[in-house]
Symmetry: C2
Subunit: 221 residues, 2 copies
């Protein structure tokens, strides 16, 4: 008789990041079932070979199915594995990070979801602390040379909003005029014709990412 | 009766890179078994939950067991997955890249192993072409800000050898004096006391990485 091959558990976990109060926040979900039932953890689940074309689409399915959310940026971080990270057995979890404008999170109004500033998202079950730390580090690096932080905002935003998104993602403040020069050089954004933000007392011009910058990330989803 | 959970296949694949004739080369291995028996492919294998503490150690075990090689740099690239990449079923492969001095490869003398310049390593089975392309891209990026290319060389090397390793990894030529200045600034290397290379007519000083630079990568293995 052939020995049955022991196959590890394969899951996906998503570090869902948003921007609120000028800070990067991670969206966690109360676990429905054991292990760690009731505890806040990353949004995640099993890969379903019978329906998932890839782990990437599995992560999107889990976000949609468990949290009712869809995102414009969903990128693979790395895979965490081992025999002790999950009491159900030897497992590998392909970790992703995703960016969501806060208003999309707020509109969802799902009581199982909770947003925490990254510094306070500690003591999570499994190895989720390490996964969150890895995602923050990766996002910080990506923010230094890409339009990534813009995806923390709605598709139309003011220049000050964009600068604050960069500052939160980079974890440091930026000189305003140097920031504007850099954004100009990169041709990252374009004004939205006839659109002014009415959030502040003085209406401000609204911008959006240029097509090339949106496409860069859409390719990865 | 409970429905048996369909668990995907979990493998590791290693993009083993070396430097020869001033070009980055990838070490491939003839496959022993179906699928694609006899064809050259990345060195890889199943993850063994009963013996592998992680996919990282699985990759090191496979390199050692199938190719008799151990490496100083072994880093996770990303996970490739899906139902059509492997005829045995839905699979996820955690891909790694590893760097090996050419003399270690030559000393091994394993007839199942073959070294090919990266540009010629095309038409590989599974999705190995995409995995190789991803590894080259990642190494190029890493080379721009780290000591990674030094690991293509033996632990002691001359400055011209180090420059050629950087040029091969970056895929472009470097100005020699600017290169020396940069290496100095980064305090990346130190002279090996009393050691001169006798490979060329005029003996040249040998250098090695400073401890901090070796440690950076040793942490990842």
């Amino acid at each position: 008789m052939a020995t049955e091959l022991i196959r590890p558990i394969l899951t996906v976990d998503v570090v869902l990041l948003t921007l609120h109060d000028d800070r990067i926040q991670v969206v966690l979900q109360a676990r429905e079932k054991a292990p760690h039932a009731g505890q806040l953890a990353l949004i995640g689940g099993y890969v379903h070979p019978e329906e998932d074309p890839s782990t990437q689409t599995a992560a999107a399915r889990v976000l949609r199915g468990k949290a009712g959310l869809s995102v414009r940026v969903l990128e693979q971080l790395m895979t965490f594995s081992g025999g002790s990270r999950d009491p159900r057995g030897w497992s590998a979890s392909v970790a992703y990070y995703a960016l969501l404008p806060h208003r999309d999170f707020a509109a969802r109004g799902d009581a199982s979801l909770r947003m925490l500033p990254v510094a306070e998202a500690k003591g999570l079950p499994f190895d989720h602390d390490a996964i969150v730390a890895g995602a923050i580090q990766r996002c910080r690096r990506r923010a230094a040379y890409s339009s990534l932080p813009a995806f923390l905002l709605p598709p139309e935003f003011t220049l000050p909003e964009l600068r604050r998104a960069y500052e939160a993602a980079l974890g440091r403040s930026l000189n305003d005029s140097a920031f504007r020069r850099k954004i100009d050089e990169l041709r990252m954004i374009e004004p939205v014709a006839g659109s002014l933000s009415k959030v502040t007392a003085r209406p401000a011009q609204l911008f959006r990412l240029t097509k090339a910058n949106v496409v860069e990330f859409d390719r990865t989803v």
